[in-house]
Symmetry: D2
Subunit: 334 residues, 4 copies
């Protein structure tokens, strides 16, 4: 029975507590939050879970095997560092850390102490993303030419990060998971209409090969859009996550290039065949992820959404901020 402490009981914390507490092989030992009001709710719902208001106390606790960190991103690094130093496994909210350097340090620390870090990229456990990875892995789309994602709605303005750090971690982690290619450069543009943090941004990601990716994120859209296009040489995929029934559609559409002898002789013909929408398993993503964390800890396995993968996302987010500040220059990734 894995014993887990949870720090932070804000928007997402309740889901973390509910899921880890419901698993057969784990239980939540305590919940720590600075706000006594929210702890009252915890006591009511879970009389057996201890409530703490001091982080120090939480970190000093010997009653747990792992710490789930569900606090603002700026606190991830100090909390995770202390937890790892005290031999606790760490489950941490996305984005992993504020800087790549912090992420790197935590990864090394976990490596040395043989501890698990899992970054909570919940989307990787949805039926839709699993199905998309399947399709790409089976090479159904052929060589992927572009990845185009739009994630916009009338969103909650964050007080400590911009819209890129709020929304793009989802899409960066999904793309990194689904495709095998490694980003090499980023160009980002954006605007802060309220306060100092950008509420709208556009990000282009380059790769060493033919692939190009683009991400639109926006907190000020009147309509909710969760749309991803993956264009392959053979087929093309559209993932509309707000469609209740047909989230994924695969189009047998594309072009056939029959000659390449110079620009005026290039013969492009169009192909337009059937479309199909595979059934998507309505799995509970966070439940699967919580279970996977417990498994990884028990088997001492490195998860596929470990600190390394979390760091790759942070590196992309850092590059976005640098590019936006410069008005849109290319920032290299290594």
């Amino acid at each position: 029975m894995l014993k887990i402490g949870v720090v932070g009981y804000g928007y997402w914390g309740p889901n973390i507590v509910r899921n880890f507490n419901a698993l057969d092989d784990s239980e939540v030992a305590f919940v720590c939050d600075q706000n006594p009001e929210v702890l009252k709710k915890v006591s009511k719902l879970y009389p057996n879970i201890e409530c703490l208001t001091s982080c120090e106390e939480a970190l000093a606790s010997n009653s747990i095997d792992a710490l789930a960190i569900v606090t603002p991103v700026s606190t991830h690094y100090p909390l995770a560092k202390k937890a790892l130093e005290q031999g606790k496994h760490v489950f941490v909210e996305k984005p992993f850390t504020v800087t790549t350097a912090q992420a790197d340090e935590l990864c090394n620390l976990a490596e040395r102490k043989n501890l698990v870090i899992m970054v909570d990229h919940t989307f990787l456990f949805t039926g839709a993303v699993r199905k998309i990875k399947d399709i790409v892995d089976k090479d159904e789309l052929g060589s992927v030419l572009y990845y185009d994602s739009t994630r916009v709605n009338l969103g909650l303005f964050q007080h400590d990060v911009n819209v890129v750090w709020d929304l793009a971690p989802h899409d960066f982690s999904i793309m990194n998971y689904v495709l095998k290619d490694k980003p090499t450069g980023i160009v980002a543009t954006g605007k802060a209409h309220v306060g100092e943090f950008e509420n709208i941004a556009y990000i282009t990601v380059y790769f060493d090969n033919n692939l190009i990716a683009h991400f639109a994120v926006n907190w000020l859209s009147p309509v909710k859009v969760r749309n991803t296009l993956i264009g392959g040489e053979r087929k093309m995929l559209v993932w509309n996550d707000v469609d209740p029934d047909e989230k994924i559609k695969i189009y047998d559409k594309g072009i056939d290039v029959t000659s390449k002898e110079g620009i005026y002789k290039l013969l492009v013909s169009y192909r337009s065949g059937d479309m199909y929408a595979p059934r998507v398993d309505p799995m509970e993503a966070l439940k699967l992820e919580a279970n996977y964390f417990v498994d990884c800890v028990e088997k001492s396995e490195k998860p596929f959404n470990s600190g390394i993968e979390g760091m790759q996302v942070v590196q992309m987010l850092e590059a976005c901020n640098e590019s936006i500040k410069a008005g849109g220059k290319v920032v290299k990734l290594d």
Copy 2:
């Protein structure tokens, strides 16, 4: 009765001929095309229209008052120049010219000779764009914060220009028409998957004020999207041009910022009211535009889609190409 010669009878030419020929106050005197096959179609449909295969002959003709140029963009400048020199008014396909310098020269020439140049930005004559301009002009949206356009589908690969020059002229001309703000900088990224011309591109446009604009264009999308969001301080507008019934929706949605004393005290509250979809006049855009050209010529008036406006679009297209070539740097516009 305005007599018009038409050069070029490819994809769009037949529509130009049909419309100018149907007007009460204009008639098509000749159609010129290098391909004798397409001229056969002209003869069949319009026995009274002369058919020419030589541009020189067309340009030398004294039978016309105006020349409609519906040829590839690289020929616009030489054809328009000759026509203006011979005292003909010019109706020219978008994009106006290959360079801003060419456009500038043509505008000056027309000015000197008191001739009309009209650039065929047909969308400005649709009921949808007219309605959007109305709404923005009446300040229904409040101060505009962003303009976000997506124009993608499995499109015809062009042999002489990239997807930006093919599709973005529509959106640039619409934005310039609808908003009063003048673009000051452009960042563009893109990729050529087939041949040398980009088939996918993303463009951010900056302004001196709070406004930001973005354009996604793509020839390799399995689905057709014609979507524009205009986010205002008061209301937000969505224009979905592929919706047969409700092309324009105005959302009484947004945020109210009640305090600005430092970032942590910023209070953002959400507003979500009714939506309405105004009736859009199903006018025939090209018919209206053809009629407007004849009017402008007869009254010696400068059209709102004159060479100047066409040149502004060309300047933006040039900046896109420069930015794409540099991998995404900011290119200033003046």
Copy 3:
């Protein structure tokens, strides 16, 4: 504090218990179900609620003021009768009873004993239905000409009633609530593809005036449709309950009849104006209804969804069955 007993903890029972238990002015005293397994769940979630397996015990209990009956429809009458006889108020699932005679007897009994009967037509408490009633009451649509409802999906086959008794009570209760007209006749057709109960049915309802209503219900549809059209002389309304954002749309569309001097002189002209989608309050319908029940009991008021209204729905359901059995004849309602 109104004390409520709940009989039946199947599909809907848990929602009834949760809502009545959460109100400030009511609490659930006991839950009664024949299945000890489901009672375990009750004990776990609500340690303070008594669990009973015998209906006799439940009905004999003196600890309650009201009984909520959430059992199969055939048991509604005997349970409600006993409860009323013992002076308990009754909250009963739809459809109210198996026969109009049963419903009538219960209404009379409640009347005599001054007790409240409320039939759980939850939809009447949704934001959408409230908004529609508002619109109709304000005569925005003008005189209503037709009411057309489709409620189909791959639905749970019931073992004791046909699809009409399962799905149509929603629509009959909504129509009766929204419109003031009284049905005078019913023609219904249907088919039982599996077992003896119809899984697909079509119902026409006549009125004394110009109004006609139609209902399509189907357990074997691959797609979920919840669509209602209300056509008025002035405007027309479409309610699409599966649309997350724009459930209700009001169209300024219709016809103007300018002359009625004989059929060949009838001049019908079409009107097509704006559409608007009013904001719909995302209220929790069952919470509102539970609260309303407690209010009605406390103030000794007859609810607008009392036994009388429940009986009107049962009368329509009876007529449907009679018409279906006859292959589609008109069954008069009085």
Copy 4:
């Protein structure tokens, strides 16, 4: 070269003339219409086609092999009869005739004189209906359980027939073509809100087997719906004719009935798999049909949309009217 005369140049006539005139193997010899204004248009567009204002003259003409009758339905019988008597083949608008008796007489006459009658059920030549027939013929859906069609919009009020005679011929002819089952009874209800002809109607069609069909037709709907569901034991098909891209969707959804030992032991389990949307050929239906008529005449073949099939539709329309007049009784078909 088949020479065709066309009587009637109203709404549909121009399409008939254009198509028959464009075929390699047929030409339009004359167009006859009582209105001289519309004949002016004919002269302008087709200088070589003779224009007649008198039906007698048209029928007496020796210059034609076949007569296309595109006039109001009440004139179909006398015109077709005369034409057949004079040895002309007949292409006639839907619905074929006003009564089954008329249709029968014409069929017999054509049979005797070895002439072709084709009833213009254009939908049978669309890519969508062809694809649906393919799918059903290949038994992809399994045994068909229901056929459910909705055809509504703000439609043109007809002055001589009700909405059933205007719209249902499309759906009756499609269903009869796609399914092999023969209708045995009809129940129809409807209402005339303007004038004497019903503008809204609902039709149930019975068969000897498990199948049930239903048709909703309405001239007073604010939205255009062209939707057909075909529910099979194995799969289910949805045809949405207003969807530009994915008109037909086939759902691998349904139920599995694993036991039939009495109603309470009936085990119904749900199946929900992939969906696919086959590519639909964007053929020009009327062109194909015109070509098919010429073929049938040349080869002396009976078309699959002959007078017999047209008569079956008329019989169903007659039954609808009889049922509507009786308020909704079952009318037997033989």
